[in-house]
């Protein structure tokens, strides 16, 4: 007989936390661009999950967290510019014998991309970054945001078109 797991069990709760904290936090950050607020929203979402642990089944806990976090975000009006970090080490690049001109171009491209992403509408940016950074499939994003896959694809398409437009002039083959 298989025991039905409950979110109210601390071990289960911890497991959900470890599995979701990063992507939930990123989701919040993509939306509001504020580290402290994102942390607050994430924290509050998990607390609400705990308070409702008897009503939320394990499989639905992910969607619950994202919905709560999204609502918390919508209720807080202030938004900041999203500033993302880049993980590529320039030192590492140096070792690969890239010429300085190329490095400069790389850096410029990165800056342009960052600013273009920051200028995307919240919805499009969130979907785009969840796919690019968190490597989520559209189906998964749709599930988490409680929207249809078509909507995800639409937002993705708009985002890509916007980025293409902003970066196309700069980037010549």
């Amino acid at each position: 007989m298989k025991k039905i797991e409950s979110v109210c069990e601390e071990l289960v709760f911890n497991r959900i936390y470890t599995a979701q904290i990063k992507s939930l936090y990123n989701f919040m950050y993509y939306k509001c661009g504020d580290v402290a607020k994102s942390e607050d929203f994430v924290q509050e979402s998990f607390i609400r999950l705990w308070n409702n642990c008897a009503k939320v089944v394990v499989e639905k806990s992910k969607a619950f967290l994202f919905t709560v976090a999204n609502n918390l975000f919508l209720n807080a009006v202030e938004k900041q510019k999203v500033v993302l970090k880049h993980q590529k080490h320039w030192v590492e690049l140096d070792l690969t014998n890239e010429n300085p001109e190329f490095l400069l171009e790389e850096k410029e491209f990165l800056n342009k991309l960052q600013s273009a992403i920051a200028n995307l509408p919240d919805n499009q940016r969130t979907v785009f970054l969840m796919n690019r950074i968190d490597k989520k499939k559209y189906r998964e994003i749709a599930e988490l945001l409680d929207i249809s896959i078509k909507t995800v694809e639409k937002r993705m398409s708009l985002a890509l078109r916007f980025l293409e437009e902003k970066l196309g002039n700069e980037y010549k083959v």
């Binding site: 904290i21 990063k22 970090k85 796919n131 993705m156 398409s157 890509l160």
Partner: protein
């Protein structure tokens, strides 16, 4: 149209949804290098750091304080006991709250008018304390009191003023009580009051006053002032022991008097103002042939001339 088509490929490509043919076609498109660059660089981005452990411990703390227990611990007491304990605590709280005293006190040189729940009026002179319980006030008009105050009591049930040196019991009246300097002094301005203490029990009527000194000697005197003096900016006394006057001055001016070199039991009649210390010292002490010297801002030395 062409553009939309490649855009759709781009969208699908990022989701790994392109068929082999579509992929070949997509890679041939002139925008592909840009697309590849966008896809590559954006996947190398990340959001600023997050302290996962700190947030988890925050969450655990908040949960623990909200529920009063951690989740995987079986409660030692059944939950209903918490309810019972809370109810008892609340009942005790209500009892103490309802039973608590309301207090007023004045400092040096201060006077205060206190309106009691039955609209009786008490004027507190300097350095006096008054407290009473609001609960059952109608049936139990009991006041704890030290210092000097003028009472204007509304008619009604018995009204009792308790002090260490004795109690005063009244029915609708106006009177002054002074328990300072170990003296128990009551002046009745209107109606009747009943005094009770370890030594004696007596009734004062309008215009009568009573004073009991520390050595248990008592004296009756007649009120000569029309209105109680200290409520009008000066303190008057008739045939009062000097130390009672000194104490009144100390309370009005916040000064300390050194009176060991003089006879502080001698009787004096007169008054002093509350507004000017120099004038007050002169009016009280010159006639007694006592020299009052201001040592500093807080101390006065009294010596025989």
């Amino acid at each position: 149209m062409k553009k939309n088509y490649t855009n759709k490929h781009f969208v699908n490509w990022l989701n790994n949804d392109l068929s082999t043919e579509e992929l070949i076609e997509f890679k041939k498109s002139p925008q592909f290098p840009l697309y590849q660059k966008i896809a590559q660089t954006s996947s190398e981005l990340y959001a600023p750091g997050l302290e996962e452990d700190k947030i988890l411990s925050n969450i655990k703390n908040i949960i623990a304080t909200k529920t009063g227990q951690t989740s995987n611990v079986r409660p030692i007491f059944p939950k209903i006991l918490y309810g019972v304990a809370a109810s008892v605590a609340i009942l005790i709280g209500i009892f103490f709250f309802a039973n608590r005293s309301t207090g007023y006190s004045t400092s040096y040189g201060e006077q205060m008018v206190v309106i009691l729940p039955d609209l009786s009026e008490v004027t507190l002179n300097a350095n006096s304390d008054l407290s009473f319980k609001k609960r059952n006030w109608d049936t139990n008009r009991n006041i704890e009191f030290e210092g000097e105050a003028y009472f204007k009591v509304k008619e009604g049930s018995t009204f009792i003023v308790n002090s260490i040196l004795g109690t005063v019991e009244v029915l609708g009246t106006q009177f002054n009580i002074n328990t300072k300097a170990d003296i128990f002094e009551v002046m009745c301005f209107e109606g009747k009051v009943k005094l009770k203490n370890a030594v004696s029990e007596r009734i004062l009527t309008e215009g009568q006053a009573f004073r009991q000194l520390t050595d248990d000697t008592t004296e009756d005197f007649v009120i000569t002032q029309q209105k109680l003096s200290w409520t009008t900016g000066e303190t008057a006394f008739s045939n009062a022991p000097l130390r009672q006057v000194i104490r009144a001055m100390e309370d009005q001016y916040g000064m300390s008097f050194e009176a060991s070199q003089i006879d502080s039991n001698q009787k004096i009649t007169g008054s002093f103002t509350h507004s000017d210390l120099q004038v007050a010292l002169q009016t009280v002490f010159i006639s007694l042939k006592i020299k009052a010297t201001l040592i500093d801002e807080k101390n006065v030395l009294l010596e025989k001339k």
